[in-house]
């Protein structure tokens, strides 16, 4: 195990360097092709040239290589790596450190991720088992139909519908009524409410988890059906084990390996913030930060946050890989 972990960690270094370099390349190319973000900040009526020059100097955007399209600006990359090593991810165009912006918002995104994950894993696996055990019967057809529906709906349609119907039509009535408890109204809210940091994330969490829920249900179902047909299950049954033990212990554990993989990837994705869902429900998470930065053309934030997210994603992946090896011994043997 130790050797496996060491090897995996060593592999991690070139991966992260390569990713950071690609990011750097993309951001410099964008500036070279699209143009100076400082100038774009001011729009039609430009401030005096000296003001622009000063701001470019402040944000390290005055390097001549940024004028030469195609130049990879290696010098800037080395500078950047040096800053990253000291946990300096730069400041936004308003002078606020990006790490501060990120740390403020990350907990919200983590909460949203947890709600979405619990929902998609618990409900998804249960639905998958139900469908798998009742193959081609009504329950199976219902699950298959409804999951296709969930996958087919783009999240902005699904999210807006949920917000309008559940959050506004139903939710507003509950919040204004005298009989309903407070928590119920907050669970069905039109947006984030800082006074209810978990409850008001319920509806967006469900919307966010819906897509993966469908995927997990289908993965579980297929994998369960396949394993139920395998030799070892037949043997177990022949030995006279109860169905409960055959399904619950022998089959399900094996069937869940692809599901765990999927969830692992999903954690990384969800932690990156859900741009659309956070936008619809006005959630001050990482997705909102990126959303606002893109709209404001705040290049330093985009580069800084995407870099941080890449690191989070890669570290999450590393952990999943190590965890995976712990689950399945075959993986760590050469």
């Amino acid at each position: 195990m130790g050797r496996y972990v060491a090897r995996r960690v060593l592999q991690f270094i070139p991966v992260i360097l390569g990713t950071l370099f690609l990011l750097h390349l993309l951001s410099t190319l964008t500036i070279q092709i699209v143009g100076d973000p400082v100038r774009a900040l001011f729009g039609e009526n430009a401030p005096p040239a000296s003001v622009i020059a000063q701001m470019q100097a402040d944000y390290n955007l005055d390097d001549p290589c940024l004028q030469q399209t195609g130049n990879p600006c290696l010098g800037l990359f080395v500078d950047r790596l040096g800053q990253y090593a000291q946990f300096d991810f730069g400041v936004n165009f308003r002078g606020r450190p990006i790490t501060e912006l990120f740390v403020e918002r990350f907990p919200v995104t983590v909460r949203l991720t947890v709600i979405a994950l619990v929902f998609e894993a618990v409900v998804g696996i249960l639905l998958g088992i139900l469908a798998g055990l009742r193959k081609d019967r009504f329950a199976d057809n219902l699950v298959r139909f409804s999951t296709v529906l969930l996958i087919a709906f783009p999240v902005f349609v699904f999210g807006t519908l949920a917000q309008l119907l559940l959050g506004l039509q139903v939710g507003l009535r509950i919040r204004e009524s005298s009989w309903a408890p407070d928590w119920l109204g907050q669970m069905l809210n039109v947006g984030y409410n800082a006074d209810y940091p978990w409850l008001s994330l319920t509806l967006p969490g469900l919307v966010l988890g819906a897509f993966s829920l469908a995927a997990i249900a289908r993965l579980t179902r297929t994998s369960l059906i396949e394993n139920l047909r395998s030799d070892y299950v037949r043997t177990a049954r022949a030995k006279g084990l109860t169905t409960r033990r055959v399904v619950g212990v022998h089959t399900l554990r094996n069937s869940l390996i692809p599901v765990v993989t999927y969830i692992g990837i999903d954690i990384g994705l969800l932690l990156g913030g859900a741009l659309v869902t956070e936008g619809i429900f006005n959630i001050p998470g990482v997705g909102q930060l990126v959303f606002l930065a893109i709209r404001a053309n705040d290049t330093p934030v985009i580069v800084g946050v995407v870099t941080l997210l890449t690191i989070v994603f890669l570290v999450a992946n590393l952990l999943v890989d190590i965890f995976y090896a712990a689950l399945d011994p075959r993986i760590r043997y050469e």
């Binding site: 143009g35 729009g43 009526n45 401030p47 003001v51 000063q54 204004e176 006005n282 959630i283 001050p284």
Partner: protein
């Protein structure tokens, strides 16, 4: 969205074409108008987007920070939108130019203080203005100081001189009759308290102002800003509600959903939800004209757009009213002048070639001698900001009325600005303008004047420039307006730009607030005047 100030109106008017669904029947009843009590007190919720800076206010050059700072700071002086005259309802008791309109004497009112008790005196202004013009400090509104002698050269400019604690003189680098109006752009000319200057960073989180409201607690970034009435306020600005809660939303739609949910009390409705709001709100949604201008500019040095008759023909072949009705959902006023209607000195019959007249357009095209089949009209706009719909509509009208083929070209905003700066457009381009100060000069000189800050057409006419200079020197407003209008006539004859329309906003208010009005001068809802029904 904290777009730069000149952009904000365009973000609103121009993205109207996007995603509008015709839902919401007109039969929705609003829950009975409650007459505003008109009494001060109470608290209401409004919407703001994350401002750029709150201190020093000189770094505020967009709509969101000025929304807050207009309440936190008193203006130096205001401009009356009917007459164009200065109104001394702010910190200045008088502002007098000398005969040459070059040396301006500013006298401050007695006894005014900052929120922290510091006196609002000459030093506070000198401190602020010297700081702002210094290129080292990279202040967004540094351009406002550019006319003052010695600006932009070092840490102090020579044109500012202290007379006594309440009086100082400003020497300009030439005569400029509109300097008083220019000073009514509050953030650029606000004073800075000493305590603020000592720690700008802390001051940015909780600005020390001179106005009727002060911040309650610190700026909660990306969440909200709470303003409360300042008990010791001695000025004349209105402040009815005791507390104004500004909340921030990721998208304008999310803000409107919160309004429907009973949270927000007053907001400018975004184009995405305008029709929905119109159906739902009835009289609680009011439309008001803004001073922003949308126009098409021509690369006047490029063939065939160097031909004046062709530019006139193109202008007359566009049916502005139809585009506003169909594409912009009726929000907008067809242009009749380069200067927009709310601005004093604007006219409703100045632009002969802005009328829709396809027959006349064809005649003009013939007179121009340009063969409509000899070229393709390339129409430029910046992508992703909702300009797709109306630019295409305009191009189609040109095609069907004049027989000129068109091609739409779009780029990202940053790239668009680079093309503008380099004047590399090969066809008409869409642009917008919103004012810095309410004077016809603020439209004509930057957009059409030779080497104007926002003149991207390459247009230059010495006669036009000369009229502006004469107007700058005029003794009274009437005379200067007449001269600005003469200059405007030249631009409207030669048409380096064709004005399309001026903006309109829609303001929604809940039945918990009253006296909601859009203040065209501030380019904002008049938050101080809003009363809460108790």
């Amino acid at each position: 969205m904290s777009v730069s100030r000149p952009l904000r109106a365009f973000a609103v008017t121009a993205s109207l074409a996007l995603g509008l669904s015709a839902c919401g029947g007109s039969d929705t009843t609003s829950s009975g108008e409650v007459d505003p009590t008109g009494a001060p007190g109470g608290s209401y919720t409004a919407v703001v987007n994350e401002p750029s800076y709150l201190a020093p206010s000189q770094n505020c050059y967009e709509s969101e920070c000025s929304k807050i700072l207009d309440l936190v700071n008193d203006p130096l002086v205001s401009t009356d939108f009917e007459t164009g005259e200065l109104v001394f309802d702010g910190l200045a008791e008088s502002i007098e130019p000398d005969d040459a309109q070059t040396v301006w004497t500013v006298t401050l009112k007695e006894g005014r203080q900052f929120h922290n008790g510091e006196p609002v005196d000459t030093d506070a202004f000198l401190r602020a203005w010297h700081y702002s013009q210094d290129p080292k400090n990279a202040q967004a509104t540094a351009g406002f100081m550019a006319r003052i002698e010695g600006a932009g050269e070092g840490s102090e400019m020579s044109g500012l001189e202290k007379v006594d604690d309440r009086t100082f003189t400003v020497t300009l680098d030439g005569p400029f009759s509109q300097f008083g109006q220019q000073m009514s752009y509050q953030p650029a000319f606000a004073p800075i308290a000493e305590a603020c200057m000592d720690d700008l960073k802390a001051c940015n989180e909780s600005p020390i102002g001179t106005g009727p409201y002060q911040m309650s607690g610190e700026w909660r970034h990306d969440e909200g800003i709470t303003l409360e009435k300042w008990a010791d306020y001695a000025g004349e600005q209105m402040a009815n509600a005791d507390t104004i809660e500004f909340e921030m939303f990721t998208t304008p739609t999310a803000a409107y959903r919160d309004f429907q949910n009973g949270g927000v009390d007053v907001l400018s409705v975004s184009p995405e939800v305008y029709l929905e709001a119109k159906g739902e709100l009835g009289p609680r949604l009011q439309e008001a004209p803004t001073a922003s201008l949308t126009y098409l500019g021509f690369p006047t040095g490029t063939k065939p757009y160097d031909n004046e008759k062709l530019r006139q023909a193109i202008s007359m072949s566009i049916d502005r009213s139809l585009i506003i009705d169909r594409v912009q959902n009726g929000l907008g006023v067809p242009s009749t002048d380069i200067v927009t209607p709310p601005i004093p000195g604007s006219r409703d019959d100045a632009c002969e070639f802005c009328a829709y007249d396809p027959e006349r357009a064809k005649e003009l095209l013939e007179e121009s001698g340009v063969d409509p089949e000899s070229f393709t009209l390339e129409l430029y706009f910046n992508s992703g900001s909702g300009h797709e719909g109306w630019t295409e509509a305009a191009a189609r009208q040109i095609q069907s009325n004049l027989g000129i083929d068109y091609k739409l070209k779009s780029t990202e905003w940053a790239q668009y600005l680079e093309l503008l700066d380099a004047q590399e457009f090969t066809g008409p381009f869409r642009l917008g303008w919103s004012l810095d100060y309410p004077s016809p000069e603020n439209y004509l000189r930057p957009i059409v004047g030779t080497n104007g800050d926002s003149n991207y057409t390459g247009y230059s006419n010495p006669e036009f420039d000369e009229l502006l200079v004469q107007a700058d020197r005029a003794d009274d407003l009437e005379e200067s307006f007449a001269l600005y209008q003469q200059a405007g006539d030249i631009a409207l004859q030669e048409l380096p730009i064709i004005p399309m329309w001026s903006g309109e906003v829609a303001v929604a208010s809940s039945d918990e607030v009253g006296d909601v009005r859009y203040d065209v001068g501030e380019g904002e809802i008049a938050f101080g005047e809003i009363t809460v029904n108790q």
